[in-house]
Amino acid sequence: MRNRKHKCKKSSCLIYMILLLACLLIWIPIYMVVSGCFMRGEELKEYIGVVLDQGNGYVAWPLLPIYPTLKSFVELLFDAPQFFVMFWNSCKQVLPAVFGQFLVAVPAAWSFARFRFPFKKFLFYIYIILMILPFQVTIVSSYLVLNHLHILDTHLAIILPAIFSTFPVFIMTKFFKGIPEELMEAARLDGAGEAYIFFRIGIPLGNAGIISALILSFIELWNCIEQPLTFLRDKSYWPLSLYLPQISVDNLGVSFIASMIMMLPAVLIFLKGQEYLEQGIVASGIKQ
């Protein structure tokens, strides 16, 4: 008995060690971003300039910033008006797109999950393929449409195609399918209409799916790079995700703090919504 307990403890120690070692692979880069925020640009250049073709020797990184300073932060705050323009652009593109997805994808997913109609399976396969096709593969067709609609070089060029992304439909469908049919039947027997069932049973019981799909969409759109690069020639419409790639070596300090600020909304939304993500696409189907 005693021996067995000992053995158990040893194996769980090993499990913790494996897990924590893997976590280190994530904590170290994150620590570097965070500590980089408190260093001056020149200091950073000294440490990592070599990989950006400036300086020589090997890269180094101090365990703690040697001269901790908020200089980069102040620089970003006062000397980089472009940053705020791009932050605002990101909001103007991402928020309407996510809201639009909510309006369009929720009923579509409800339709796929709840009703039988001709060609449903065929359409769903099409939705899946469209969701997987890499952006570059459909780049010509998208470009031609946006050009035809005269919305290239406007926020709409990012928003409209995003609203009709089929990814949230796919995720939400899985959740809606997990709602037991008996609930719906019972409501119908009580004389509830289809709209009532959709709003009062579907949306509340499928909310974990709706929220997790929208969180994933938000993260995707917040970090999108290819779409604005292709559809927005006019840099005044560029979102924040394109701010970082164009920072020069001389502004290294700013790039770390800008990374942090850019990550912040996504991290907050993620932490808030993690429990919805965890409710799982699959569990809802199995447990009933």
């Binding site: 913790y16 890269v59 469209l130 997987i132 593969v137 790039s255 189907g285």
Partner: protein
């Protein structure tokens, strides 16, 4: 008399369901048609014709694409990348989720940690990767300090490994969450019953856990496939239009064709990719689904 009425009710109900189904789907379907489906049909048409003269040329564009060396290299690399990284990600994430499932303390901290890479901006990852994987980066510094020799990770065929690592690093958290949800869905009583019958933990894993996770497998595989195409972002930001040939992917080819306005090739290529993906999806679905469960 009885049968026609029943039939009438059934068809009436079916008609109502069809109307409702299409009604709920319509806003999405119209938008998808305008922004993707109709343009894609147009791409199919273009793939069989010449851009300037609009003359029908049969499979000529397809022949050109197949003969294109860049396309061949990229298709080979993309296929290799998918075949390496997706199974690897599935196995690793399942292993970690089983490990994580078995521990009580710190579970949430670890889970959240694994999720964080998903939200790190691609450009920040690129800067960090330069610090780690550059010829004069941290990784080489460590390897040399340990008595090894350094390699130029990003500009040799090691770039492929870096890309696989990036993909796993970025996506393992989400897959773990999905697997954990699947694991949580398996009733504890099945395991208890198996224990009573004298099953060991390995047997329980093979005969209970794995079969019960099959429906999770479909969705995890599909989402991993989607995300595998998104590593292009990092690859592109690190190495630009023409990276080391070991990570020259289909997206690079399409991007470069787009820059050169090679419309015919792009359209034929897009149709080919769509057909292959359709095949892959049907295959994944056949492999992971039991007969009783329909896709919708």
């Amino acid at each position: 008399m009885k049968i026609p009425i029943e039939k009438y009710i059934r068809t009436k109900r079916a008609r109502k369901e069809t109307l409702l189904g299409i009604g709920f789907l319509l806003p999405s379907l119209i938008g998808v048609s305008i922004f993707v489906l109709i343009p894609f049909m147009d791409a199919i048409r273009r793939s069989f014709s010449e851009t300037m003269t609009r003359k029908f040329v049969g499979f000529e564009n397809y022949r050109v694409v197949f003969a294109n060396e860049a396309f061949q290299l990229a298709a080979k690399n993309t296929g290799k990348f998918l075949l390496v990284c997706i199974p690897l990600l599935l196995v690793l994430s399942l292993t970690f989720s089983v490990l994580l499932y078995s521990v009580k303390r710190l579970q949430n901290v670890i889970k959240t940690t694994f999720l964080i890479p998903m939200v790190i901006p691609a450009a920040s990852i690129v800067l960090l990767w330069k610090v780690f994987f550059d010829e004069y980066g941290l990784l080489n510094k460590i390897m040399i300090a340990c008595g090894g020799t350094g390699t130029d990770w990003m500009n040799s065929n090691k770039a492929f490994l870096v890309l696989v690592f990036t993909y796993i690093w970025k996506n393992i958290g989400y897959d773990i969450i999905l697997w954990l949800a699947g694991l949580n869905g398996i009733s504890e009583s099945i395991y208890e019953a198996a224990s009573v019958d004298g099953a060991g933990s390995l047997q329980k894993f093979i005969y209970i856990t794995i079969p019960n996770l099959m429906s999770t497998l479909f969705i995890v595989t599909v989402l991993s496939l989607i995300n595998s195409f998104k590593v292009f972002r990092e690859a592109y930001l690190i190495a630009g239009d023409y990276p080391h040939e070991s990570i020259y992917m289909l997206q690079h080819v399409f991007n470069n064709w787009f820059t050169n306005l090679d419309i015919q090739k792009m359209c034929a290529g897009a149709v080919l990719v769509a057909i292959v993906l359709l095949g892959v999806i049907v295959l994944i679905q056949k492999l992971t689904r039991s007969d009783k469960e329909e896709i919708v």
